[in-house]
Amino acid sequence: MLEINNLHAELETDADVTILKGLTLSIKPGEVHAIMGPNGSGKSTLSYVLSGKDGYSVTAGSAMLEGVDLLEMEPEERAAAGLFLAFQYPVEIPGVGNMTFLRTAVNAQRKARGEEELSAGDFLKEVRAKAKDLQIDADMLKRPVNVGFSGGEKKRNEILQMAMLEPKMCILDETDSGLDVDAMKLVADGVNALRSENRSFLVITHYQRLLDHIKPDFVHILADGKIIKSGGPELALEVENNGYADILAGAA
């Protein structure tokens, strides 16, 4: 599904700051991978570089989604190709109804893929059903995108977008940040409901606790722009118990 090979990236404004220094990762269809790492290890940069945010330049390496070069594409083309990023800090868009936003996004992707646009009726039916599962009420669908949403509401809204857009490759960037236990459970249930043999996940997180709810197949430790250790779910528990220090020392 996603093949990242020897990826190097630096800040566009400051070429001296290299954030990713040779990251290699292979995710097969249906797999759930988790990336953990201390602050400043490059976790969020990875999600931004993959989704095409301005401000980073890739100096070496590649990232392919189903054999297609992601790095050559505009952000919206990556989205239409099946990539989705659930943001750590979803932005607010005043005056734009949540439903309008969702429908514009869904139809933009359909159009880009040469598919027919979803009719207003079908869209409404689908969004209501999916919103219900995430305990998103009609009011939240009407309100402007993320404006005045609580932390939990914002994250649930990200998962609703994911459910509506039906991407192949989902990246969750610290989706657990700012969530209490109940909200985290709700978000995790939403993600689990979307797991399938054709859809892969890359879960970026600081803590093991999210991985209690979203069980990964593989766990990678990212430090200083590189994956320094990979393993199964037990690796996340090791981090939880001993912190990153031991692993970092072991790698050095």
Binding site: P75, G95, A105, A112
Partner: protein
């Protein structure tokens, strides 16, 4: 983010999309010209021209005298220079002040007798002069409820009104809706009483010029207690070259009446700038309410600032009676230079004024616009919501006055001005003037300036929208408060306008 002159076509973008965007971008939709034979008054302005215009309109002597008095004043006045706009000096003697289609020499008796070329012009603009239920060409209008669908139209072409629809039906309700030239002939007592009573002859340079040379415009009178049975509208079209349009509109809402009035304006593309200097006066008596909406889409000039309309307009509403209400809503997307401050005089106790504005300036456009809220009566309230959007090299200024007089006890104003900059070469300016002369009134002012946020754009694009779609969505959201105040049909047109003006403006 930098401004782009042209739309760059990326690989893989389908041709339909490219064609649609190219057709809209920088391409003023109403820039075509009607080929029609015209009668012109000689170029320039002097007492003879003033008399000529007056006689063409078959006006009584008092009207001619009023005009001449204004002309004498105007000759002694100087052009104002305080607005934040710049343009080459206007040669007031190099303009035609009166241009009338030859076929209008004898006023048509009914709409059926109007020159087909003129009817075709308005049909092409989406404003057919037929007494049909809805404004054709307005998408989605058919979804509106059955009642309230009718819109009466007065169509002004260069210097003359070519026709007014639904006059008979309005007359049954007691409503007078006609061109101002007809009103001067048929209802002199009303015109004499109210003309110049809100915007005095000597108000300002352009208003004084207008008082001398105005040719046509609309007249509305709503009798006491009458709710006007349909929306009224005037569509202004400038067609002739080197011609100024000087329209005069007078609206009187008698006690306890209500009317919603819409105004639209377009002009052909010309290399030479043209002057439009209008005066709108509104009188609102006790318990009456007037909503006045404008979608201003005059030709804005080309991307290098060549041509376009200079739109120098004085609009003012006088809430004379207690509990009178007025609401100005404007969407300003056209004109090379705009100088316009629709204002409210809140004279009656408990009267209310509202001003909602979106001004969009792209390329080399300059807009200096805002409002004046003059609180004279007790417990008067006003609200100002202004949104300025600048793209390309455009400059957008909000200029507003809120004045609380000593007797305006317990009055309130709320002002919110937001500016949005798209690109790095445009400008936004906010110039509020606040005067409070009593200690029980409250004035609140908020102003923000923001660039279309890169994070918002990235968020939209990461969900699959292309850049233009993302900008249109974010900007539409920003404008929503103002668009919500517009009558349904114009709201839809305005939303489309908002998207068109910004196509190709980001890169």
């Amino acid at each position: 983010m930098t401004a782009l002159d042209k739309i760059e076509v990326k690989e893989g973008v389908d041709q339909d999309t490219v064609d649609a965007v190219t057709a809209l971008s920088g391409n003023y939709k109403y820039g075509w010209e009607t080929e029609i034979e015209m009668d012109y008054a000689p170029k320039g302005v002097n007492p003879d021209i003033v008399r000529l215009i007056s006689s063409k309109n078959e006006e009584p002597e008092w009207m001619t005298e009023w005009r001449l008095q204004a002309f004498t004043r105007w000759e002694k006045m100087n052009e104002p220079t305080w607005a934040m706009v710049s343009y080459p000096p206007i040669d007031f003697q190099d303009i035609y002040y009166y241009a009338r289609p030859k076929s209008m020499a004898v006023k048509p008796k009914s709409l059926d007798d109007v020159d087909p070329k003129l009817l075709a012009t308005y049909a092409k603009l989406g404003i057919p002069l037929k007494e049909q239920a809805i404004l054709a060409g307005v998408e989605g209008a058919e979804d509106m409820p059955a009642e309230g669908r009718k819109v009466a139209v007065d169509a002004v072409f260069d210097s003359v009104s070519v026709g007014t629809t639904f006059q008979a039906e309005l007359k049954k309700a007691g409503v007078i809706f006609c061109s101002i030239s007809e009103a001067i002939r048929d209802h002199p007592e009303l015109v004499k009483k109210y003309l110049g009573s809100v915007v005095p002859q000597s108000d300002n340079y352009y208003a004084t010029l207008n008082s001398a040379v105005f040719s046509d415009g609309s007249f509305v009178y709503i009798p006491p207690g009458v709710r006007c049975p349909m929306e009224l509208s005037t569509y202004f079209r400038i067609n002739a070259e080197n011609t100024g349009q000087f329209e005069r509109t007078l609206i009187i809402a008698d006690k306890g009446s209500y009317v919603s009035y819409l105004e639209g304006c377009t002009a052909p593309k010309r290399d030479v700038a043209q002057l439009h200097a209008a005066v709108v006066e509104i009188i609102i008596e006790e318990d009456a309410e007037v909503k006045y909406s404008t979608v201003q889409n005059w030709y804005p000039g080309d991307e290098n600032g060549k041509g376009g309309i200079y739109n120098f307009v004085t609009k003012r509403a006088d809430c004379r009676g207690d509990r009178a209400k007025v609401m100005w809503t404007q969407v300003e997307t056209g004109s090379a230079v705009t100088w316009k401050y629709p204002s409210c005089i809140l004279r009656g106790d408990d009267s209310q004024g509202e001003f909602y504005s979106i001004a969009i300036a792209n390329n080399m456009q300059q807009a200096d616009t805002g409002t004046k809220m003059v609180h004279l009566g007790k417990n008067t309230k006003s609200r100002i919501v202004s949104k300025g959007i600048s793209a390309g090299k455009a400059q957008n200024t909000y200029r507003g006055l809120v004045s609380m007089h000593p007797k305006a006890k317990n009055s309130r104003n709320y002002t919110q001005c937001d500016s949005l900059l798209i690109g790095d070469q445009c400008g936004a300016h906010t110039v509020p003037y606040i005067e409070v002369k009593n200690n029980s009134s409250r004035v609140e002012h908020e102003a923000t300036t923001s660039k279309v946020d890169d994070d918002q754009l990235f968020y939209c694009r990461s969900r699959g929208m292309d850049e233009e779609e993302a900008v249109a969505l974010v900007v539409n959201g920003f404008c929503k408060e103002v668009l919500q105040a517009l009558p349904m049909e114009f709201a839809m047109e305005a939303q489309a306008l908002v998207a068109i003006s910004l196509e190709g403006s980001v890169g």
